[in-house]
């Protein structure tokens, strides 16, 4: 390989002095070799090797302190989840319960699986762009952390909640923001507390419109467009095919008028590790 083709990152400067430098090459492995060529010696060595293994396991059985089992649900109190652990996506609210989301939609755009859907208030209280619902689909999330990385306002972070098992898949669709309304910066400019209150509308984790409904609307629009294309004979897919693929996307039939009838908001127990999407009042 010629020098001009070497990836520039392959030889970063500045570390050569610290590290011992390249050395070493191919070494033949033999490993702990048991020569079992002789007959009597073979039996003796074989038995010795077996006893060696039994010594290892015997040492552990003799010392119960080597047990590493954790008694999981009982040790919730002492369980320490690292702060960077990607459990449940959380939406940052400040001390007043205000968020900083400006609906720039970078996270929605960068999410590889489209597991974030943001809806905008039709008519903002203070500005044109105000957050209505920030919807996170845990069922589609791969926990790649990209949304957290790209958010310019540090609104998103991953919390430690890892106990996200539910019996109904639709319960994996969360609304993360505590209220629909303008950002903390705008609200703090309002001197009147009542004006602030009026600008905000509370949201809870399972309030509508859920992402499924939002997607259903998008799908309906796309189906219309596809039908129009098919009528002109330019679409790759037949409307029937579209119907089929649409049916596979959603667990519930579309379209649903009004809020999708998800089961009533399950009271999320506030135990450590549970999904605490509603951590603001």
């Amino acid at each position: 390989m010629s020098d001009d083709l070497v990836h520039p990152a392959a030889t970063p400067a500045g570390t050569a002095a610290l590290l011992p430098g390249p050395s070493g090459g191919a070494v033949a492995v033999a490993g702990p070799w048991l020569d079992t060529a002789g007959s009597v010696g073979a039996v003796r060595k074989g038995i010795a090797s077996l006893l060696g293994g039994m010594r290892v396991t015997g040492r552990y059985v003799a010392r119960p302190s080597t047990v590493v089992t954790q008694h999981y649900p009982e040790n919730r109190e002492t369980l320490r989840v690292p702060e960077r652990f990607r459990g449940a996506l959380r939406f940052h609210h400040d001390a007043d319960g205000y968020h900083g989301c400006t609906v720039c939609r970078i996270c929605e755009d960068q999410c590889p699986n489209r597991s974030i859907v943001i809806t905008q208030r039709e008519k903002g209280a203070l500005t044109k762009k105000e957050l209505d619902t920030f919807i996170w689909r845990l069922d589609a999330c791969t926990f790649c952390n990209t949304c957290v990385m790209v958010c310019p306002f540090n609104v998103l972070h991953f919390g430690p909640g890892f106990e996200s098992a539910v019996y109904d898949r639709r319960l994996l669709v969360y609304t993360l923001n505590g209220y629909a309304g303008p950002t903390a910066a705008l609200l703090n400019k309002q001197a009147d507390p009542d004006a602030r209150k009026a600008a905000c509308e509370p949201r809870d984790p399972f309030c509508g419109p859920t992402v499924l409904q939002a997607l259903a609307e998008k799908r309906a629009a796309r189906r219309k467009a596809a039908e129009a294309e098919a009528a002109q004979g330019v679409g790759l897919k037949s409307p029937a095919a579209f119907e089929k693929s649409a049916a596979r996307t959603a667990p519930d039939p579309v379209p649903v008028p009004g809020p999708v009838p998800v089961p009533a908001p399950v009271p999320v127990p506030t135990q450590p590790g549970s999904v605490e999407a509603a951590d603001v009042g």
């Binding site: 520039p8 392959a10 070493g24 090459g25 033949a28 048991l34 690292p82 960077r84 790649c144």
Partner: protein, 386 residues
């Protein structure tokens, strides 16, 4: 018994249609897609005569997700996290392979701190991966206990990853332009504590499994893959090195900081299951060596050199880069026609190419040998199917 009778018997046996002297029939049996030793949804159709394997026909596709197709619809940042799901035991190396080709294509710079962190975590993950392999290998041979010891020690390392990276299996840590998080302040101490625990444990591993006469009898001379066959069948990584070919991209084309650390490349001589086993055991020790050299020498600097949300654009062309994961050469090919999304992405995965060694090495052996061979190839099925 006189000679005539013996001759007649011989003639009658020779006249039998089957290859077997006993005149038995061959039969087919499905090993997988749900089988404890195929470690996933690999299906092998076996043509057996009694216990003797006459032919192995791998049938793939049970977990094919079309990662290459999905990449065509992702931008250059998004495609990295898909590689976590190929060889999930080498997620960081996979991330790095994708990152490397994107950085090369987009002419992105890195600094020595980023490279040091990448080298360190990838090497830790090589140990991590081999620990799991060792445990599973023991279990495939019928010993249950190594499985738990392997996982017990792997857990320490998983916790180390969890603190720095936030993920335990799928990392998405190595990104174009750097690494997602700077290393955790406690990382160096954690890794040192791990090494202090793990080094004596490695000796225990040897006493429990390597030196065991049953293991040696089960592995020596079984599943011999000659160097010529290994290269012809595209095998790489420990499988190739066990056959006597000292090919390791960490030495041949050093990336990261591999050019600046001292380590040896363990090489086998026979290419049997034992050599593949011994090479991996030695690789763990070599990885420990590399980690120890890097731990105290991580240079200062930034861990991420571009804006996280910055658009990555690549001019038209074809790029290919490859590196050494715990299982062999992982290549990433990127074809761009300009813009923010690749035109085509192809991953040359080590397991897809290593798998085919089983078709030649397992024939003529027993079913139990086949299990040992499969385990010594250390296959991760999602990496075959992608």
């Amino acid at each position: 018994m006189n000679a005539t009778v013996a001759t007649t018997l011989r003639a009658r046996l020779d006249a039998l249609p089957s290859q077997s002297l006993l005149g038995t029939q061959e039969y087919f049996v499905n090993m997988g897609p749900q089988h404890p030793s195929t470690h996933g949804v690999l299906r092998l159709v076996l043509k057996l005569d009694g216990e003797t394997v006459h032919q192995v026909i791998p049938v793939l596709g049970y977990i094919h997700r079309g990662i290459e197709k999905i990449c065509e619809h992702s931008n250059y940042r998004q495609l990295v996290h898909l590689t976590d799901r190929m060889d999930y035991l080498s997620a960081l190396a996979n991330n790095w392979a994708a990152t490397m080709v994107v950085e090369k294509a987009a002419a992105m710079e890195t600094n020595s701190r980023i490279e040091a962190i990448r080298t360190l975590v990838t090497e830790l993950q090589r140990i991590h991966s081999h620990q799991l392999w060792w445990g599973v290998f023991g279990m495939d041979l019928g010993a249950f206990t190594p499985f738990f010891y392997g996982f017990r020690d792997r857990e320490i390392l998983t916790d180390v990853f969890e603190r720095t990276i936030g993920g335990r299996l799928t990392m998405n840590y190595i990104q174009p332009g750097g690494v997602m998080h700077d290393i955790h302040p406690e990382l160096v101490a954690d890794v040192k504590a791990f090494l202090a625990v793990f080094k004596p444990r490695l000796d225990e591993y040897e006493a429990l499994l390597s030196e065991n006469v049953i293991v040696q009898e089960r592995l020596r001379g079984v599943g011999v893959l000659t160097a010529q066959d290994a290269v012809a069948l595209g095998a790489t990584g420990p499988v190739l090195r066990a056959s006597g070919v000292a090919h390791d991209l960490r030495k041949a084309e050093p990336y990261g900081l591999y050019g600046q650390v001292a380590f040896d490349v363990p090489v086998g001589s026979r290419g049997d299951c034992w050599d593949r086993y011994a090479v991996r055991m030695q690789e763990m020790r070599q990885s420990i060596r590399i980690v120890e050299q890097l731990l105290d020498n991580i240079p200062e600097g930034k861990h991420f050199l571009v804006k996280p949300a910055a658009k990555i654009k690549v001019k038209p062309g074809v790029w290919y880069s490859h590196l050494e994961t715990a299982r062999g050469v992982l290549g990433a090919m990127l074809v761009s026609t300009g813009g923010e999304a690749p035109y085509r992405v192809h991953f040359r995965t080590p397991n897809f190419n290593n798998l085919w060694a089983v078709t030649t090495t397992a024939t003529g052996g027993r079913v139990a040998d086949l299990v040992a061979i499969l385990s010594s190839l250390d296959l991760v099925i999602p990496d075959i199917d992608r």
